[in-house]
Subunit: 368 residues, 4 copies
């Protein structure tokens, strides 16, 4: 059932396949009056696009965005914003040999079984290429949230395969191919990836994304809690196998006397909650961590079956990311922005006239 | 915005507060003709209800379910099934002192800020008591899935605070107060809880839930992937801070040549995927793990602020679970069943006439 | 698929059957802080309830409303409001003979075919009794709209069978059993109904509902236009076969130079639009008209088939409204209020910060 | 709130403005395996497109459809189908003078008030041009319904302004510019339109659409009844002010002994219900009638206000349909097909395994 729309009030409907003529999305529900042009979106797409270093797929896609509707004289009109990106570097022949087998760990098998057949070119609909329209939509959300609430989004790789990446400063993130907030370990990461590529294998990664300052009160219990919808958004990104909010799995071994973030008139003293209590934003920074599995398209031979159910061996050549986690950072930021944007509108709908009597608590004190 | 409905086609709308007259839910979209009575639901509620051991809250609630609609002569009619549970052991005075302060780590603060005021009795709407109607709805989903697809659900605690709980057999789960699939370590868990309770503190837990055998093909990319919706369902359970599918965060350090589950005509050889590829079920068992944080209502004093924004200290007395994770197992099972049920209907809607040419692959081989 | 929820942000989930233990609804998304008690709802239910004159069904139902959740210390909390009405005057034996045949013009046949079997008692789920919870939910919407926007709702019967009912004043509506804004023709209507009842037949009716003053800007094109959702709400009421906004079918023979309502600084000069242009409220009164078909449960014998497909004859005895349109007025008002309420929240979500430069235009001038 | 998506399972998200670069839609939820190419869609668009006779707008738009996604090797893949139509004959200068005033009867005023400003070119988003993507989406639905259920759709103009158009045969519909199922009165209709155009005025119309043979059981009470959703779809078409199912407003003066359609083993004897009982399809033909108001863009001068609230006079020149009802027939057919399609999938979701014991009743007998 029609699962290609993300969001409830700020709704993004995604379309396209890796090697079709175009990919894109329609954003419905954007507030009117927001200044918007392609120039607001393209920089985010450029952060995600392939071919920017030797550590990612060498497919050459400019990912040029075109706005087809919803903007008049440089401002959003409140009507749907259609965004299109033409695919220009399709090489469908790379995938012809994949049609009759199923790559282990890949969606080949499940798409074939669900829909009866599949578009095998570049993974078809299952390709991570379909995250590009979400990055574009996320750029619109980010702009509105920055203007209305001052909220900004940042992300970084915190682990590449076996290598943990210490935080050294957000300013480093855009200065290396890994989105690492780090300068000391980059050479080591490069060497790790070079070795991996040579081996024809792939590796996983861990990514952290944060947002702040956050408005208090976003999230719609009982089910559309802010953290529940963040988990939905993150787990839906290609290759993600785990999601944590705040302390995450670390909370298992914490005592309540440690985990519960104490409040003072000057702010929260810690942020184990990751910015969400009872499914509602506290005003502290949102802190989200995700696990990205290793890419399934590898050169090493693996056992599988063919469409007739017979045993076979699959090796995947062509252009692939040896660590799909490398490009996941701007994607995760975008998905987080889309969740927060949707909830900003949802909160305004129900609680737009709520007044309360609690003095403001600075959210930032415990975020460090 | 109205976040109290779970699911798209099998829709469960939850209502009630911890100390109001009643809690319950309305299930809309249940297929007609399913044999159903209170007797199908009550046993699941009994697994979750409070007061069953000294390690959980001592509130005495029979959690007796009443079916108000949607069933005629013992069968579902296809119309909404309203389920009601009367609250019988409310002690609202326990919470009067909480009205003017905010427990660290609790939703007190965010509910107050979002809605302008709150029902403080027993956590009001934020109470884990509201999971009872979901367990009831889950019982309906479980029954239909078992009859239509043979799918069953099981869950177990895999870690209590610092103590990992080895798997020794599913048959043990109902024989101890912890839902541990273990018999050797129960005494140690009891002692751990007794010490914790004496200290007035609380602890976290890790829970694993599995489902199988699973139909192949459930899940609706691009966003309503089966794993994305499982993450949404699990992260929405009270106190959950992390969700993993299959290898989860372990996938970060796996190589692609290890992670990707190989296929043979006799089945998958491993199940690192946790039963989902590309957001669609593979036919292997679903394997989901969640992190439950320590309860925020503890006797130890903690710093907070009052409604006037002044510093204060909060100690929480009354009846609380020292490890809310203990009762989380039947809840997580129920939420998983609700997700699978919804997707079974969604898949039938779009792909009810799909035929494919792949011989059946046993899902179970790699599940061990 | 789960069609028992009405609305997008102010969501009402209806449950129950005519002769089950209870009927009711859950309202999700109500803004917090609204003063609310049973006393706000009961008067609206009393307008709709059966047994209040000899011209409607003689079933005796007090339709006493109970609020199960969502209200704390007399104010809505922003969480789901569950409303329950116990059925007290069920006489299921009246319907036993209906189980094996299908009343012409009734949902007996379609429910049986859709769901495989049906609850025959009092029409089961297809009974107009299920409009009672909507009248209750509508009372909540009416109260909020009156307090926030000053909007009020009114309705009247404009035609009973062959008899057109001239408008003589809103003050008459509650002074006769027909909801007629008329005092001169009541005796004629009474005689018409007495004759009809004696004949064992039933008749149709036309109802008009209006709302005003209306906020400008409600409605969400392209599809969730205010008038489109009004049409959906009205056509969904039992027995309704036609819906008109403003001039309605009269617009077919109007010229554009007549139909288009001219604007002046003092207001619109006419209201052929019925308060909606381009699917968005103009600020003029909403004016909606509906056609209610004659009841299908009549004493006169009619040809039908039985479950074996054999020809038979059906006469319906028991308690039925000879003109279901008589009680339709408070129902139509409630449904209109629910649509306007939902759109007030939806508009605030997307356009809550919109500023425009047009001086206010009084909406009322052309409403007469 | 994001009202640009139509349907629940077969979802169509519409985008574009009359004079933007392109219009289009994304269809999500289409069953996989349907043979589909532009050639299946273009003929329906050609029926609706402007410039085909002197009685409609002279804007020249080829309305060439391009499929951007969702089709692989000539079959739908089950993933979103993006359809794009480039606008080629925009003349934005025609509308510059409209920016500061509001046409009586037009959405100019409400869009401006709702969104704070508007795209005035050709009516922007409020233009009937946006029905083209729905006609395209409807062509996909029609094809699937024809192949799966044998259902076909037809429509005709039954009244043009003051002139009623007798039914003489469906074969005439495509042989005149009015979609009249008539050959005798065409000259009279032509003269009527010529006179109207000369006068600078516009007129209304009445359109009837039918569908059959229909599967029994479609429709989802309590609210998403088949007729309720048809009413929503029809009232959402530009300029529609009234909707009738079956007898429609004629039911007001019918007796129950006439209105209720009798059943025999050979079929229903009449079809006053219009193919729907209790909100669920009976298997008889769906019969729907709509009232289309006269176009608001006319050459005759009309009183209005400008953006400063001062009185002014508006005359509309440029290219407009003097009777927007003329092109409404293929639009109404498409919207009906979209509703039926959505409900076919919804019904399969919930009731895909329902079995009943009633012999088939031919639906067609009473349709004449």
């Amino acid at each position: 059932m029609s699962g290609s729309t993300f969001g409830h009030l700020f709704r993004v409907t995604n379309f396209g396949e890796s090697h079709g003529p175009a990919i894109g999305c329609v954003i419905d529900g954007c507030p009117p009056g927001l200044a918007l042009s392609e120039g607001d979106i393209q920089p985010e797409l450029d952060r995600r696009r392939p071919g920017t270093s030797r550590h990612v797929t060498q497919r050459q896609e400019p990912d040029s965005i075109e706005i087809l509707s919803g903007v008049h004289e440089g401002r959003t009109t409140g009507t749907p914003i259609a965004l299109v990106i033409r695919n220009v570097d399709s090489r469908s022949r790379d995938y012809a040999n994949l049609l009759d087998t199923f790559r282990p760990g890949h969606a080949d098998y499940t798409y074939h079984r669900k829909y009866g057949f599949r578009d095998p070119r570049g993974g078809g609909r299952a390709s991570a290429r379909l995250t590009a329209p979400m990055v574009a939509a996320g750029a619109v959300a980010k702009k509105w949230l920055r203007e209305q609430h001052g909220t900004t989004f940042a992300g970084r790789m915190t682990q590449l395969g076996d290598i943990e990446i210490p935080f050294e400063g957000w300013e480093h993130v855009d200065a290396n191919p890994f989105f690492a907030a780090n300068v000391s370990d980059i050479a080591r990461l490069e060497a790790y990836m070079d070795e991996l590529r040579k081996a024809g294998d792939s590796c996983g990664a861990r990514i952290e994304v944060v947002a702040g300052p956050m408005p208090v009160g976003l999230g719609e219990p009982l089910f559309d809690k802010l953290d529940a919808e963040i988990a939905y958004a993150m787990m839906g990104i290609n290759a993600v196998k785990g999601v944590e909010i705040g302390a995450g799995f670390g909370a298992v071994t914490q005592r309540g006397s440690t985990h519960g973030d104490e409040l003072t008139p000057h702010g929260f003293l810690t942020n184990h909650a990751g910015g969400v209590l009872g499914g509602i934003s506290t005003g502290q920074d949102l802190v989200v961590s995700i696990a990205v599995k290793p890419t399934s398209s590898i050169r090493l031979p693996r056992r599988s079956i063919d469409r007739a159910g017979q045993p076979t061996t699959v090796e995947t050549h062509g252009r692939h990311d040896p660590c799909v986690g490398i490009r996941a950072t701007p994607i995760a930021e975008a998905m987080l922005a889309l969740v927060v944007m949707d909830h900003a509108l949802r909160h305004r709908a129900q609680c737009g006239d709520v007044r309360h009597d609690v003095p403001p608590v600075p959210g930032s004190l415990g975020n460090a």
